[in-house]
């Protein structure tokens, strides 16, 4: 018998603070996929807020600390395309002038995956044992789609959730307007983009919105809450792991 792959779970700072159930859903799915899951204690944030704000020194410090904490595992998996993309695509840019860490950044990038992509493409997961009686639509994050190149995998697994009927958004590849600190710096533009996305969601008749990134989901759930909009919002890992915590913004 081959030994189980050792997976370092990059929890993400938003999941850690706002919605631990997503982290536990990820652990459950990874264990179902035959992995040993480890959660390094020294992880905080991947450094993306600093990198995107141009605070390169802080971004580099955080990148080095993530490399130190995770390079010993066979794989690094994040329940987020955004944090996954930061490690997979951007760490080599962040550490381009750091001769000692650059090769280590490259090595880490090569074994870093977004959760659903890892389950389907690396672990060959074909179906999940979950039930959810609802009409749902999937909102990708831009980083999941364009940086991690995840497109069909989430839909494949969602199709195997019993009772779940999946509808496609008309503009599935258009940004929802979260953009990290963008949502705080340019709230008016962010609002317009959210409202366009929400109109698209409503036109599918979906009762549930699922997505791979908590940032987009907090933004859309928060906006829909403000509008009094009844669509429920959950992270895709929770639905696939059959976890029943209240949806985002619900008591």
């Amino acid at each position: 018998m081959t030994s189980k792959p050792r997976v370092g779970l990059f929890v993400t700072c938003l999941v850690d603070l706002m919605r631990p159930s997503v982290g536990f859903a990820a652990v459950k799915l990874l264990e179902q996929a035959g992995c040993d899951v480890f959660v390094p204690e020294t992880q905080t944030c991947c450094g993306q807020p600093a990198w995107n704000a141009g605070a390169d020194k802080d971004a580099a410090a955080l990148a080095r600390s993530v490399i130190d904490a995770f390079e010993g595992f066979d794989y690094v998996v994040a329940p987020s395309g955004s944090c996954g993309g930061m490690i997979h695509v951007h760490y080599v840019e962040v550490l381009r002038d750091d001769a000692a860490y650059l090769p280590r950044a490259k090595a880490l990038a090569a074994k870093t995956y977004e959760l659903i992509q890892f389950l389907v493409n690396v672990r060959g997961m074909k179906n999940v044992s979950a039930h959810c009686q609802t009409r749902a639509c999937y909102h990708t994050s831009c980083s999941s789609l364009r940086e991690m190149k995840v497109k069909d995998e989430p839909r494949q697994l969602l199709d195997t959730v019993s009772g779940l009927q999946l509808s496609e958004l008309k503009e599935a590849e258009v940004c929802c307007g979260f953009g990290g600190l963008f949502s705080v710096k340019y709230p008016g533009i962010s609002e317009r983009m959210a409202d366009d996305k929400i109109a698209d969601i409503r036109s599918t008749g979906a009762d549930l919105l699922v997505g791979p990134d908590l940032g987009c989901l907090l933004h859309l759930a928060g906006r829909m809450e403000r509008q009094g909009n009844p669509v429920k919002v959950r992270h895709i890992a929770e639905v696939l792991a059959d976890m029943r915590d209240p949806a985002l913004g619900e008591p």
């Binding site: 631990p20 995107n52 141009g54 390169d56 802080d58 705080v184 533009i189 906006r223 403000r226 913004g249």
Partner: protein, 468 residues
Amino acid sequence: MNQSPRDFPAASKAALADESLKIALGRLKTHFGANRALAIERFGGDWEALREQGRAIRDFALTHLDTLLEQFERTVTARGGTVHWARDAKEAREVVLDILKDAGAKTVTKGKSMVSEEIALNPFLEANGLIPVETDLGEYIIQLRKEPPSHIIAPAFHLHKEQVAQTFREAHTHLDSARNLDERQALVGEARQLLRAQFEAADAGITGANFLAAEEGAAIIVTNEGNGDLTRLLPKTHIVLTGIEKVCADLNDAAVLLRLLTRSATGQDISSYVSVMLGPSDDDGPKNFHVVLVDNGRSRLIGGEAEEVLRCIRCSACLNHCPIYGAVGGHAYGATYPGPIGAALNPGVLGVANAAHLANASTFCGRCAEVCPVKIPLPAIMRHWRAREHASGLAPKSFVAGLGIWAFFAKRPALYRAITGLAARFLKMIGGKRGHIAALPLPRGWFAVRDLPTPQGKTFHEMWKAKR
């Protein structure tokens, strides 16, 4: 009209409140986005390979810019044309004025040229007693309205046909005021008729150039209205006004870029007209042929981290697919080049202090880079300007301070755990039974437009520790 990128916050707010603009911008998807997608589908060949070829052609041109421009000058000169070099906008305006004065010109027809907008040529010519007449329909409309263009290839994209009709009624007072201008065709007909007379009266014509081919000494423009040909062929003097980065090695390279350009821009396999201009002519065509090569900040970018922005062939695909541009339109950017290309270019040519807002107003969704025909890494260049803004102390103080406090804790895991544990409890407590928080003093931008779903109460890390 907002004319500085520094005003982006207020200008974008005003744009968001403009219902008429919202409807106009709604056409981006149906008009440009859908047509581009169809054109690429129809293309049949390997679009990605063509993009890669286009990227390589542009990179070759940028790494050989000096020798290609000199070669271009030699070939144009050998054919009897004259090449002029302008370091900045002021020099460019003066060079053009001198040529026009030498030609004894009064009325000057103009094909669409973004460089002309960039150097604010029209007001300068008017102040010097000349009469510039824009002949591209969109440019003609905004010239009458005294507005800058809001889009690179569709300068009047922000307007509806009713607004254009109103503008024509106010400008063309010699025409019957009871005439019917309800249909697009009537507007086009009226502009065409009036412009015919101008084409015939013009003493000189000014066009831009989409490409310059160094080996042949050729300048190439694409148009759909035919106004470019009438502008360049009818008057005795023709001036090509363009940026130094437009040069490529030869017509073969230009042909590849042309295939990328029209599909990416309007979704056409080819534009209605492609004009290859090879210099002065003794028969049909201009007797005097001038090319004005404008730097205006471009050469500063060569060799730097933003150099790739000079690959741009001004197709506007990035604008047409950008959700930020789609929300606020072109005028809010307060610069000649709006959208993602403007956000990547303007901080470089106008200065980071002036144009940093444009680089910041992006979610880095990456759609612009995905559709760019010459693969400019637009978000990476915007991020580069943010880093420059941060490093030179230009970023807003409160923002830098907030980020600094966050980074201080994020770099100290034990302390970070303690703080996030408290935050999770505190937010859960004030969210109470409702499950979401409607207002907190910070971050103001978040609560301005949305609630915050409350956290579950404990952090993942403390729950994980307790469990294992």
